[in-house]
């Protein structure tokens, strides 16, 4: 088998193994399904184009996560600029969330919805760290490699995020 064919086969396996994980990672950041679909495609195009740059000494999923997180953040920042709102404003995401609930693309128990609403109150970085640690159960070392932040900084960020989520859920 020649090199392009081997490459194509490797990529195909990678898509099979990581497509859903990447989609869910992206979806939880950009919220809307159609947006998540577009961003996921961009992520895999980037992976395909840069497969040669992958360093064998780093974990494949941290490399893929890193691309997914960067693409997702870039996407929501573009959306904010396009709508001329502050780069820290999560209103667009909250709107997408509400729209998703109404259309049935977001459907869960009341408590799950409340938790997601609480997470949407967090700034991007805290939201990301919370998601990777709480839902994905990634180690701080892995999150550090994905986000390029120190482990100490991540622990502090996660702690603050947890406190805010707790505070939000205690309301009412």
């Amino acid at each position: 088998m020649d090199q392009p064919a081997r490459r194509r086969q490797a990529f195909s396996s990678l898509v099979e193994a990581y497509q859903q994980k990447v989609y869910w990672k992206v979806r939880k950041i950009v919220i809307d399904h159609d947006d998540a679909n577009d961003v996921t495609q961009d992520v895999f195009i980037k992976i395909w184009q840069n497969l040669d740059k992958f360093r064998a000494d780093s974990k494949l999923y941290t490399w893929i996560y890193r691309i997914a997180v960067n693409e997702s953040l870039t996407f929501i920042q573009k959306q904010r600029r396009k709508n001329q709102i502050s780069l820290e404003d999560n209103q667009l995401l909250v709107d997408s969330f509400d729209k998703g609930v109404k259309s049935g693309y977001i459907d869960g128990e009341e408590i799950e919805l409340r938790l997601q609403q609480a997470i949407l109150e967090l700034p991007d970085k805290q939201r990301l760290v919370f998601d990777m640690r709480y839902f994905d159960k990634l180690s701080y070392d892995d999150i550090s490699e994905i986000t390029g932040t120190t482990v100490g900084g991540l622990k502090a960020t996660y702690h603050v995020a947890m406190k805010k989520v707790e505070q939000f859920l205690k309301q009412d």
Partner: protein
Amino acid sequence: MKFPNDSFFNKLQASIEDIIDDEQLSIGRVDHPFTVPKGYFEQASQQILALTSAKKPKGKQLAFPKFKVWYAAAAILLLSSVTAWFYTNSVADNSVLVQNLTNEEILSYLENEPIGYSEIANSVDFTNEEIYELTSESLPFDDDLDYMLDSPELLMEEIQQLNEK
């Protein structure tokens, strides 16, 4: 601290305590409420593979592409030439420039510049002959000189002092 009557909150609280204690999560995975249309993932995989087959993978690139190196070299050469030209033309030897000036041009310049007699005397090493030659002419350097030219005795005294120095 009272949470709503759902065990989830108790688990969340427990997880917060664990994080604070030893950075470990004791709570199990909490499912998110997001859903996708039926059959989405199967279809999406095919879409991704179709999209990427149309795109060529990027080859390994040099840190600086070749054409950029040429542009950089040309820019450096141009910058060096301009700098050298500017330096040569702006910092020319003053003595060469002065040699090209006529006496009239120098005198015209001195007349229009607020330079005093003492400044000129201090900056130029005159020979005795030159001093006598200068003082024999009436040059409007400044008021001091005019006054001295009106009083030959004072002028001779000044010249003598200069010679002693």
